[in-house]
């Protein structure tokens, strides 16, 4: 009976089955539920480990997670190059998003507010957005060399589009009545931006940034591998070419850990704070 009770708790959560009586608006999920994914992840790791232990796949093709984690820990603590390359990739991504957001947001707001600008410019931007950005890479390397600048520039270009489109949509969805309220209550021009438009598009901005972030992880690592620009992608590629699969996987795991941490600690929190009021 106790087991059934515990099972019920696991399936329905701490508050029990959600009925109309106990669902409250704006309820934020309790913190540890956010980390429940660790359970299935642990299961996958165990299977992986066992597959190798029992010799179904040789350790040459793919190292066991126990080895990988060992190497990861050692390098994190003693190898500054490892940490630096991780930080380099993060910097490329972070700066790419930052510059893209700073450029795309005002532009998207301007375009969203003005119908004429929108009909003339947005199709153009859509065409550019549909072009394969990776094709720009050779040019960027030619102009900027195998430097972080090329990576950051590439990242900015890729991040620009999702942010632009989501923010523009957000602006277009602001009900006209909100503007009337602002004018009736004598909001100054600057107030219309700071007290109406920016808070109204904030959820869309987060969505755009999140999309950009997800694209950028792939793009930045890919360009590090392709253009041999320094970063964790470069390290992984280099390690595989040298034959140290375990080291490469350690880098790969590191990326995964950072991605999850950023997602849970940054994006999830932001989205929860928006969900309090967003319908």
């Amino acid at each position: 009976m106790a087991f059934a009770g515990n099972l019920r708790k696991i399936i329905h959560g701490r508050h029990g089955r959600r009925t109309p009586q106990n669902v409250t608006h704006g309820e934020v999920t309790p913190k540890f539920e956010n980390w429940f994914f660790i359970l299935p992840l642990g299961a996958i790791f165990t299977c992986w480990e066992l597959t190798l232990r029992f010799g179904f796949i040789s350790a040459k093709t793919i190292p066991p997670p126990s080895e990988i984690l060992k190497v990861l820990l050692v390098n994190l603590l003693t190898n500054p190059d490892f940490i630096i390359s991780v930080l380099r990739s993060l910097a490329n991504i972070g700066l790419g998003i930052l510059v893209a957001a700073v450029m795309a947001t005002p532009f998207a707001i301007f375009t969203g507010l003005r119908r004429r600008v929108d009909t003339s410019l947005t199709p153009l931007i859509m065409i550019f957005g549909a072009l394969p950005d990776v094709a720009l890479l050779p040019f960027l390397v030619y102009w900027f060399g195998r430097s972080a600048s090329a990576a950051i520039l590439m990242a900015t270009i890729v991040a620009f589009f999702p942010i632009f489109f989501t923010v523009r949509e957000g602006v277009r969805n602001i009900p006209k009545d909100y503007f009337y309220v602002a004018y009736i209550y004598k909001a100054r021009k600057i107030d219309v931006y700071t007290k109406l438009i920016l808070p109204a598009v904030f959820p869309q901005l987060i969505t755009g940034v999140r999309l950009a972030y997800e694209f950028l992880w792939e793009i930045v690592l890919a360009i590090e591998i392709i253009a041999r620009i320094h970063g964790i992608g470069f390290i992984i590629n280099f390690a595989v070419e040298e034959g140290s699969l375990t080291y490469a996987f350690a880098g790969f795991f590191m990326i995964g850990i950072i991605a999850i941490l950023l997602d849970r600690l940054v994006f999830h929190r932001l989205e929860e704070s928006v969900r309090r009021w967003h319908e």
Partner: protein, 278 residues
């Protein structure tokens, strides 16, 4: 005792183009509103009531004619004129309290004073305890209460209401109408309510401005002499309702006939249908 003229709408004409089509919305609309009056503007749907209200609010400019508030022409929103919206128009990212404070914020009223005024008003509209709730958590009636509190926070002379009760369920709307009447009597402000609901207009107004169909003219100024508090089922009330309905009905019939004739015209492409329209 002569009541001062608070608002003068003088020969207001409004033309605009919508989707390439030219719309003649208002045609020489003229009426006056005195201080402390409760005015209702009614008319068939689409006749331009909301356009008129927007011009009064300063959100739009008339093509010709003018609106004068306390003697001065209204060219842009006036700090002493505020508005309650049919869609409530509360900012969802702000709490109830912050929404009410909005008008005070834009005026630079210091934080402590803003808070005090907003809290008092929330109590006045019956939302004590909901200060930190978000609009998402409120029902339609409660949202409109916040809208009303927000409108009153800036201590306006005139409160405009654009079909303020039309998006609320009838039961809550009834309660809210009575509360607004109480607020009106207590605060002694001028209220102008635009509605398409005849009964609502009769319940609330001292005077009803009846607009014709587009292009809207003032068809009739109906003085409501019923004593307050008004009772819907009172025989006198029902008589007034019938009178008002007959005034509006002729407008509606005119529109229906006009539309039907137009349809026939289009269908048969007969040139001189005009003569049939008299």
């Amino acid at each position: 005792m002569t009541l001062s003229k608070c608002l003068e709408v003088e020969k207001v004409v409004k033309h605009y183009s919508h989707n390439g089509k030219h719309v003649h919305a208002l045609d020489q609309v003229t009426f006056h509103v005195h201080k402390k009056e409760f005015i209702c503007i009614i008319g068939p749907s689409g006749c331009g009531k909301s356009t008129l209200l927007k011009i009064i609010a300063g959100l739009d400019r008339p093509t010709s004619g003018e609106v004068r508030f306390q003697g001065e022409t209204v060219k842009e929103p006036h700090p002493k004129i505020s508005m309650v919206f049919q869609s409530f128009a509360l900012f969802p990212w702000r709490t109830v309290l912050q929404n009410v404070e909005f008008g005070l914020e834009t005026r630079g009223v210091p934080k402590a004073e803003r808070r005090k005024i907003a809290l008092e008003l929330l109590e006045l509209v019956g939302l004590k305890g909901y200060e930190n709730a978000y609009p998402k958590e409120l029902s339609g009636g409660m949202k409109q209460r916040v809208g009303i509190a927000r409108a009153l926070a800036v201590d306006p002379e005139i409160v405009l209401m654009d079909e303020a009760f039309s998006a609320i369920d009838e039961f809550t709307a009834q309660v809210l109408r009575n509360e607004v009447l109480e607020l009106w009597e207590e605060t002694e402000k001028t209220f102008i309510l635009v509605t398409h609901n005849l009964t609502e207009a009769l319940e609330m107004a001292d005077r009803i401005i009846v607009l014709s169909t587009r292009p809207a003219k003032v068809k009739h100024e109906y003085h409501v002499s019923l004593k307050r508090p008004r009772n819907r089922s009172d025989s006198k009330f029902l008589r007034c309702q019938k009178e008002l309905f007959n005034i509006l009905k002729s407008e509606l019939e005119h529109t229906i006939v006009r539309h039907k004739l137009k349809a026939i015209h289009e269908h048969f492409k007969i040139e001189d249908m005009e003569s049939f329209q008299r």
